[in-house]
């Protein structure tokens, strides 16, 4: 059992986690918040050392100490390598991967502890829960990682998919209930874990890349709950509190994201996005033609504007053009133009991802305006510069009830006097649907690589 100093250290760790999460909620204190949470983790780690005991409650065998130290060393190396080598554009898949590892660890801990569950139904139930959820989180995160890496771009669908998934879920539920009640049988527990791994894969496979942020957020909260269940079973209060905090805040965060896309969470998870896309050809003729523009003319339009709104999308980050866009904005500000960036809640690949990418290029965050705040001002904007964004400015969300993104809140770029869209080609966005904006009378297209186009724009503005 826990001694008083250990309990107090766990209490301190929990408080540090809470304060840390609280501070991450504000840009000014966010970094400090993260470090405070890390300090909490260190406190919990140190407090756990006296709790370690060997088989039968004796001293920990030297071999096991060695393995623990080596395991932490290897994990530290892998984690540090991943954290510092990843490009900022690839941040979402890195988070998915770290999350999956946590889920996998939770499932393994559950499997190890299940051997001691004999005759204790409550204990066994917590282990079964942690095993299922942890395994789903692990395999689901790996699939999410592969999807975001572009290795599994297309949603995978096959007939009777939902029936297969439901049947699998039912099997897992039944087996889980049996294991929890009988509370023994490590062989069956491994089968349960394997089935849960398959479920994680099948659950995430049919979901499109654009919905991955929601999936990662959900799996993040899953891992939190699995950790809490593990903590419940081994009566470790710090694990219960930390896991539950992540579980509940992650669930709320998931709902926030779905709200930003105006889709119920069930639709994201079971809807196989993009099935209804058959309207492309039919609407083509109604939409009209696109009007190209050259960089020097676009530069001229920008230099005489008073208010410019920039709508950055993931394409900007892929082209590594964040620094050039800041250069352009600086040049415009120097000429007395009012510049702001309109950030859609789901711009990039995760909510807030675009803010991170622009921050990387030293764009001051005061210039970043959220969607709700920018839309009422859009009518006063002379130019709206859309760079590598597509679905988040598509008026089809308002106008076409048959569109898969219908009802999603968008940045109303079409309301600006002139819209200039920087785009590589007429290819479709992440959601794979036609963008009505490109055919508007006030919209001009500047084709080419985003970075090259922006460099040409900077030169044109400087010359004007």
């Amino acid at each position: 059992m826990m001694s008083t100093p250990v309990a107090l250290a766990y209490l301190a760790a929990s408080v540090l986690f809470i304060v840390g999460i609280r501070l991450i909620s504000s840009p000014k204190s966010a970094r400090r918040g993260n470090l405070i949470a890390a300090a909490g983790m260190l406190a919990a780690f140190i407090a756990t050392l006296p709790l370690l005991h060997g088989p039968g409650g004796g001293a920990v065998p030297g071999m096991n100490w060695l393995l623990i130290a080596a395991g932490i060393g290897v994990g530290l190396g892998l984690g540090a390598y991943g954290a510092y080598s990843v490009k900022m554009t690839a941040m979402p898949q890195m988070v998915a991967l770290f999350n999956g590892l946590g889920g996998g660890a939770a499932a393994l801990v559950a499997a190890m502890e299940f051997r001691h569950a004999e005759g204790r139904v409550l204990f066994a139930t917590a282990m079964v829960f942690a095993g299922i959820i942890g395994a789903v989180s692990f395999s689901g995160s790996v699939i999410a990682f592969l999807k975001l890496e572009g290795k599994l771009e297309k949603p995978v669908t096959y007939p009777a998919q939902q029936i297969v998934n439901a049947a699998l879920l039912l099997c897992i539920g039944a087996l889980g209930a049996f294991l929890a009640l009988s509370s023994h049988g490590i062989g069956l527990f491994v089968v349960l874990g394997a089935l849960a791994l398959v479920l994680g894969v099948l659950m995430v496979l049919p979901i499109g890349g654009a919905d991955m942020p929601v999936v990662i957020s959900l799996l993040n909260s899953f891992t939190g709950l699995a950790v809490a269940a593990d903590g419940f079973a081994i009566s470790n209060v710090a694990m219960i509190i930390a896991g539950t905090l992540v579980g509940s805040s992650g669930t709320l965060l998931t709902l926030f994201m779905c709200k930003a896309m105006n889709r119920p969470v069930t639709n994201v998870l079971f809807g196989a996005f993009g099935k209804t896309v058959a309207n492309g050809e039919a609407t083509q003729c109604v939409l009209g033609t696109v009007k190209p523009i050259q960089a020097d003319e676009a530069g001229l339009v920008l230099s005489v504007a008073q208010q410019v709104v920039i709508v950055p999308g993931y394409g900007l980050a892929v082209a590594q053009a964040q620094h050039v866009i800041r250069e352009l904005a600086d040049e415009l500000v120097r000429r007395g133009v009012e510049v702001s960036y309109a950030i859609h809640p789901v711009a990039g690949r995760m909510p807030g991802h675009m803010n991170v990418l622009l921050a990387e290029a030293n764009v001051p965050y005061e210039q970043l305006v959220e969607m709700e705040a920018i839309n009422p001002q859009m009518e006063r904007a002379d130019v709206c510069l859309v760079i590598g964004a597509n679905d988040v400015v598509n008026p089809a969300a308002h106008e076409d009830p048959s569109s898969p993104i219908h009802g999603m809140p968008i940045i109303e770029a079409e309301k600006a006097r002139t819209v200039i869209v920087l785009k590589r080609s007429m290819g479709k966005g992440f959601a794979g649907i036609e963008n009505y904006l490109f055919y508007r009378d006030n919209c001009r297209m500047l084709f080419g690589d985003a970075k090259a186009s922006l460099q040409a724009l900077v030169a044109a503005v400087k010359a004007a």
């Binding site: 986690f17 999460i21 609280r22 909620s25 840009p27 966010a30 918040g33 993260n34 983790m41 780690f45 370690l52 005991h53 060997g54 096991n64 393995l67 623990i68 395991g71 932490i72 994990g75 892998l78 984690g79 941040m91 988070v95 770290f98 999350n99 590892l101 946590g102 996998g104 660890a105 393994l108 801990v109 190890m112 990662i216 957020s217 993040n220 891992t223 699995a226 950790v227 419940f232 009566s235 209060v237 694990m239 219960i240 930390a242 539950t244 992540v246 805040s249 992650g250 709320l252 965060l253 926030f256 809640p345 909510p351 807030g352 991802h353 803010n355 991170v356 965050y365 005061e366 970043l368």
Partner: protein, 93 residues
């Protein structure tokens, strides 16, 4: 009140606390927040250490070792990547 009920109390209160904590987070901080909370559930490392210390036999030791590696990667990688991200949020000078 038994110890189980007490832990259940803590669990339920923590659910509400988690919801309250992030209710006012601006969407620009959603990614760092997801990444930061992701690091916090890396506390499973402690669970991995507890079961590995107690492990007997090759299979149990391998399982425990993998759990510790996964947990450590989650916790260290999570905090480091979040710090790297947040380091870049700067005000205009």
């Amino acid at each position: 009140m038994t110890a189980e009920i007490l832990t259940f109390f803590i669990f339920v209160l923590a659910i509400f606390l988690g919801i309250e904590l992030i209710f006012k987070v601006p969407s620009m901080l959603h990614t760092p927040l997801m990444s930061g909370t992701n690091a916090i559930h890396g506390i499973i490392l402690l669970g991995g250490m507890l079961v590995l210390a107690d492990a007997e036999g090759v299979v149990a030791r391998i399982t425990g070792f993998v759990a510790v590696v996964f947990g450590a990667a989650n916790v260290f990688g999570g905090f480091m990547v979040t710090d790297r991200m947040l380091k870049m949020f700067k005000r205009k000078k």
